[in-house]
């Protein structure tokens, strides 16, 4: 059954269709979530939010966009919501506590993140890449993650973001330019 048809069945309360759609999209949704949030716990929670939203909103899916585009759109929105929430937590962390009560570890600090799918020989570079991605503006982050990590085409990214293909191209160029700048800043202190 096509994802579009599965969504119609989900809207009619078909639990089996929901399980099929979950199996079909779980890796795409989780991979996108973990690339944004760079934390397994947050990615799992965001993924749950995405599928709960899919279930509740399946009835409002009109088929103007492909099911995949629609699901990616929900995923991106949920991830950005969670990122903003995390950033707010970071901003107000001085009002609560900077350190964990039991372990004494610094809370709200972005930890070292290794993408589980990265090739072993590229693992070190991918850690740097994700560290740099965190510094990008939201729309550039989205364009870069959907293109480089999820492997979507520019047309698909344009549909997810609701912009033209030219705009996506420009976003990707700016994202790469900014990543180069950020990465060269990472290297500067080491070069002395």
């Amino acid at each position: 059954m096509l994802p579009e048809e599965l969504l119609q069945h989900i809207a009619q309360g078909d639990a089996n269709a929901f399980r099929q759609l979950y199996e079909l999209f779980k890796a795409r949704v989780y991979n996108t979530c973990i690339s944004y949030l760079q934390n397994e716990g947050d990615a799992e929670e965001a993924m749950q939010d995405v599928f709960v939203e899919i279930h509740h909103a399946a009835g409002s899916y009109k088929g103007h966009a492909g099911a995949s585009t629609w699901i990616y759109r929900i995923t991106v929105n949920k991830c950005l919501d969670r990122l903003r929430y995390n950033n707010r937590q970071k901003r107000f962390s001085f009002l609560t506590s900077l350190f964990h009560k039991d372990t004494g570890a610094l809370m709200h600090d972005a930890p070292h993140f290794e993408h589980p799918g990265a090739k072993a020989e590229n693992r070190e570079q991918s850690v740097m890449l994700f560290k740099a991605i965190r510094e990008l503006p939201e729309n550039q982050q989205t364009a870069f993650i959907l293109k480089q990590i999820e492997g979507l085409s520019q047309r698909e990214i344009a549909d997810v973001l609701g912009v033209g293909e030219k705009a996506v191209e420009s976003l990707l160029q700016r994202a790469k330019g900014n990543l180069r700048k950020i990465l060269s800043d990472f290297y500067k202190p080491n070069e002395g």
Binding site: A15, F18, R19, Y22, K26, A27, R28, Y30, N31, I34, S35, A43, E44, M47, Q48, F51, V52, H55, H56, H115, P116, G117, A118, K119, N122, Q125, S126, M128, L129, A132, Q148, I149, K176, L179, R180, L183, S184, Y187, E191
Partner: protein, 103 residues
């Protein structure tokens, strides 16, 4: 030579996710999602920023109005004479000692 090395390094980093596999979620998430779906949908529980601002402004206005009224009530009655006894007599409208003693 240095900038080329740096460019090479950044290119390697930018391409480090080429050919990477997708991250797979752990087993057991679907039952959690199904549990959440089974719960009643609680959309619309949040209060918009506009509503919150309007409520805060109303409270602030009420507090200001109350403060202004209290301040008005506590303003001392201006007295013509400097003598405290005269001020008391003026305030209570007492005309003579007999009246004050209730005679």
């Amino acid at each position: 030579m240095k900038p080329q090395t740096l460019n090479g390094q950044t290119d390697d980093i930018l391409q480090s996710m080429d050919g990477a596999a997708r991250a797979i979620p752990r087993e057991g998430l679907l039952p959690l999602i199904e549990q959440r779906i089974a719960l009643p949908f609680t959309k619309g529980k949040t209060i918009s920023l506009g509503t919150l601002s309007a409520a805060a402004a109303s409270v602030a206005l009420l507090v200001c109005m109350n403060m202004a009224m209290l301040w008005k009530q506590n303003t001392p009655v201006p007295s013509k004479g400097g003598d405290p006894a005269t001020q008391v007599v003026e305030y209570y409208g007492i005309m003579n000692n007999g009246e004050m003693l209730g005679i």
